[in-house]
């Protein structure tokens, strides 16, 4: 999401945005190589929707076998997990165990 240029007025609030960081291989596949993205979203679902708008196919690619780490905590099947204004978001392979 691109904030409006300064000086245009209109009262558009300037605030920090969540940072999505992708592994290079993942980025090559889905975002044309862009590994760092600033996204304005307050929950995981909104974040993915925005990424999918920018990079069609993103939502489907992370729909399964992907866990998400939000500020260091790992969520296995995220949907509405809240995302803060300075959150870091990572997509990880789904983790199992033995």
């Amino acid at each position: 999401m691109i904030p409006p240029p300064p000086g245009t007025g209109g009262g558009f609030p300037r605030h920090a945005m969540a940072t999505v960081i992708l592994q290079p291989a993942f980025a090559r596949r889905l975002t044309g190589g862009v590994t760092n993205l600033d996204i304005d979203a307050t929950d995981y679902q909104a974040l993915v929707e925005q990424l999918d708008e920018q990079f069609p196919g993103f939502a489907e690619a992370v729909a399964s076998h992907v866990a998400v780490a939000i500020d260091g905590q790992i969520y296995p099947n995220p949907l509405l997990e809240p995302i803060g204004p300075t959150s870091e978001v990572f997509f990880l392979p789904a983790l199992e165990g033995g």
């Binding site: 090559r28 076998h65 500020d71 260091g72 790992i74 990572f90 983790l95 199992e96 165990g97 033995g98």
Partner: protein, 754 residues
């Protein structure tokens, strides 16, 4: 059972487990102990070849044998498409699971199931197997992972194109995938390094080694309703896999968990269950199937072996500036080795600004690998922690000091991306350094090794219910097979929340029709995630108890306080009301609204990662190459030990499995790809006389996302021992062996050639 000065009444105490009496008296029912009237026996025909095309299967002679009631082959199973589906948590290719359960078109390892029969006795079933004629076209096979990666290797799957490589290869190969993780700039990092250690390591597949072979009883009624009794690490997983493999509704399968005689990850999949189900359906009788020990070795998943290349770069003062690992793990006959977690965990203990991990998942003609305690991590930790030891030696630094200098802390960025949350790695290093073991004197031919390890631990879906009985005692219902005492922990946590005596809270492990969905027992998740669900369910009960008291006292529920199993009016209220115990509220439940039950269904995130540091003393006999572990200490951050004894047990058991992995365990194949040691005599696991006492230090850095601070503990302890032992042997023998197992012949050869 004392309280030992902790702030909880029940959590942290060493109560007797509720299922214990049955287990010490031989009364507990494991998978093979279960019988049903009319039950018949199922047996599996297995491939004698490591790699072959199945031209035809003729079951007619077997079918004609009196006493044979059903025969199945792949023709009885739906032909599933090859696609990766979200199977609970991690991706599953159900076609692969199906073809592993019963071979379709090709057999891919010696022991691969080709057909199954059900007959009125084991003897008749065995006779029937011998009458099944399979026409094989034997193909060249490949066993070793490095051999399987070569251009001229026999290819197992002609549609397997390596994923993760761009552009995609045109030819099929045995390399299922390539994965890469990158942090910073390793080239630049190595450019700044003042000392570099670069080594190659190999490990062999090892079996989880559970003493109980796979066992199942399946009974399909005339209306198609299937009931399965089996020991597994997840009754819901068994239901899901059978439903997917046989295209059945979840609702038409009920899986009742038996007690389980060890799993360690090896029972997080199905082998016999779908076969037993179809045999029962075809025969109209309940069918029991139990693997022999030989079958367990020939046909159930070991974990991967691998080839690993590690490169570490550091400054003279020990600061790590770059780390690189390239690993190839063996998946067995179908893709799915834990190469990815191997990559992710490799450097997780350390704050390294520039790191890279590349992992290859490689198939070969061996049994399909299955999860084994922290899958993938012990191998990469073996490599990295061995290299760290060499780095310490080269820098003349104490190995614990080297690790402290680079230790991951809260906020350290992991190679796979996120920053570490609250963790206790440094605490384990400090505790190891301060332990008397670390400064105890050593004799000639003895050496001391140190190694650390990490595992994510997982959360996931769990359901729980707490029912208040009419007399104020309670039942805690959850859906996770109890592998090592978790049932007791559920009761401890529920008793703590409810505020009643632990002995009045009875936990049960329920079947798929009696409790909400729960992801399997594994990933060190049960005390964490199912524990959370139990706490939530108990809190739900407490809310209801307060509401019932409020009703009886005709006041607002906010005016009711719950403490130590009793409802009190909040302070400042009039004293016309008195207190109400849980038993009293239970006794009046019918009048105040009906039965009192609480439930919770969660998908737990925020699993706290675990770290451990091990100290191992080994004595080497330079004439035979035999290494004896003479002293061993496990230090681990457990978050909070709900039941300290069972927590210690995880640390000790995991360490000893790792010791066996390091020193003795491996699969030996002949030149036809047939397993030479499918038994406990020659697949040498540690026995009581091999081991010393395993001392444990449980450091507690509570996990803030769990009400009692729990971190998973079961898997971390198997991660450090491979390198702890290897480092000890290297220092004792003054020669380093980088190929596991460091069995006497290997070490002796290294000693003689040094």
């Amino acid at each position: 059972m004392g309280n030992e000065g902790n702030k909880f009444k029940w959590v942290g105490t060493r109560q007797v487990r509720p299922d214990g009496v049955d287990k010490v008296t031989g009364q507990a029912t494991y998978g093979a102990d279960f019988t049903l009237p009319g039950m018949i026996t199922g047996k599996v025909l297995r491939s004698p070849h490591a790699h072959a095309r199945i031209r035809s299967i003729d079951t007619s002679a077997a079918a004609a044998l009196p006493g044979v009631r059903a025969i199945v082959t792949a023709a009885d199973f739906p032909d599933l498409p090859s696609e990766v589906v979200a199977g609970g948590e991690a991706p599953v290719n159900y076609r692969h699971v199906s073809c592993n359960t019963i071979a379709r078109d090709k057999v891919l390892y010696e022991g691969h199931a080709v057909a199954a029969v059900a007959a009125t006795s084991t003897a008749i079933a065995d006779e029937a197997l011998a009458l099944i004629k399979v026409d094989y076209e034997v193909l060249p096979h490949v066993i070793d992972v490095a051999d399987a990666m070569r251009d001229d290797a026999p290819v197992l799957h002609d549609d397997l194109i390596t994923s993760g490589v761009d552009p995609a290869p045109k030819k099929a190969s045995n390399i299922a995938s390539r994965t890469e993780f990158v942090l910073g700039d390793v080239a630049k990092g190595f450019g700044e390094a003042e000392v570099v250690i670069e080594r190659k390591y190999t490990t062999q597949p090892v079996h989880q080694g559970y003493i109980e072979p796979h066992a199942v009883v399946a009974s399909v009624a005339a209306d198609g309703m299937a009931t399965i009794w089996c020991s597994s690490q997840g009754q819901f997983m068994v239901r899901e896999f059978c439903a997917k493999l046989l295209k059945l509704d979840d609702a038409s399968i009920r899986v009742i968990p038996a007690e389980i005689g060890g799993g360690f990850g090896g029972k997080t999949t199905v082998y016999l269950e779908p076969l037993a189900l179809v045999l029962s359906r075809k025969s109209g009788r309940p069918v029991r199937m139990v693997m022999t020990r030989e079958e367990v070795f020939r046909a159930s998943g070991p974990t991967s072996g691998g080839v690993l290349h590690v490169k570490l770069g550091a400054k003279h003062d020990g600061t790590l500036v770059a780390a690189d690992i390239e690993l190839a793990y063996q998946a067995g006959a179908f893709p799915g080795s834990p190469a990815i977690p191997g990559c992710m965990t490799a450097f997780a203990c350390y704050d390294v600004p520039n790191a890279r991990a590349v992992g290859y998942d490689v198939v070969s003609n061996r049994p399909k690998c299955a999860a084994y305690r922290a899958p993938g991590a012990p191998l990469s930790a073996f490599a990295v922690e061995s290299a760290m030891d060499e780095l310490a030696l080269q820098l003349k630094m104490d190995p614990i000091e080297l690790r402290l200098k680079n230790a991951a802390k809260e906020g350290t960025r992991a190679l796979y991306g996120p920053k570490m949350p609250t963790i206790g790695f440094v605490e384990t290093l400090e505790a190891a350094k301060a332990h008397p073991h670390y400064s105890a004197p050593l004799k000639p031919n003895q050496g001391r090794g140190v190694a650390s390890g990490f595992w994510f631990n997982i959360g996931g879906q769990s359901s729980a219910a707490v029912h208040v009985n009419e007399d104020g005692t309670a039942v805690v219902v959850s859906g996770n097979p109890d592998i090592g005492g978790s049932r007791a922990s559920m009761a401890l946590m529920a008793a703590e929340v409810l505020g009643i005596d632990y002995n009045k809270v009875k936990p049960i492990v329920a079947d798929t029709a009696s409790v909400g969905y729960s992801f399997l027992t594994g990933g060190s998740r049960v005390t964490f995630a199912t524990g959370k669900a139990v706490v939530d369910a108990a809190n739900d009960v407490v809310s209801q108890l307060r509401a019932r008291a409020a009703k009886l006292w005709k006041c607002d529920v906010e005016e009711v306080v719950w403490k130590d199993g009793v409802a009190y009016p909040a302070q400042g209220q009039t004293d016309t009301r008195t207190q109400l115990s849980l038993a009293e509220i239970a006794a009046s439940a019918a009048r105040t609204g009906g039965p009192i039950s609480g439930k919770a269904c969660i998908n737990a995130g925020g699993a706290g990662p675990g770290f451990g540091t091990h100290i191992c003393d080994v004595e080497v006999d330079p004439e035979t190459g035999r290494s004896s572990v003479i002293r061993y200490t496990v230090v681990q951050d457990v978050g909070r030990a709900i039941h300290p004894s069972y927590c210690e047990g995880q640390l000790q058991g995991g360490a000893v499995q790792g010791i066996g992995w390091a020193l003795n365990e491996e699969y030996l194949y002949d030149d036809k790809g047939r397993l030479l040691n499918p038994g406990f005599l020659d697949y040498r696991m540690p026995v009581a006389s091999d081991m010393p006492m395993i001392d444990t230090v449980m450091v507690e850095v509570p996990n803030p996302t769990h009400p009692f601070g729990v971190r998973g503990v079961g898997e971390v302890p198997i991660v450090p021992p491979l390198a702890a032992v290897a480092n000890a042997v290297a220092r004792a023998a003054d020669v380093r062996v980088n190929d596991l197992p460091i069995s006497p012949p290997r070490l002796l050869s290294a000693i003689l050639h040094k």
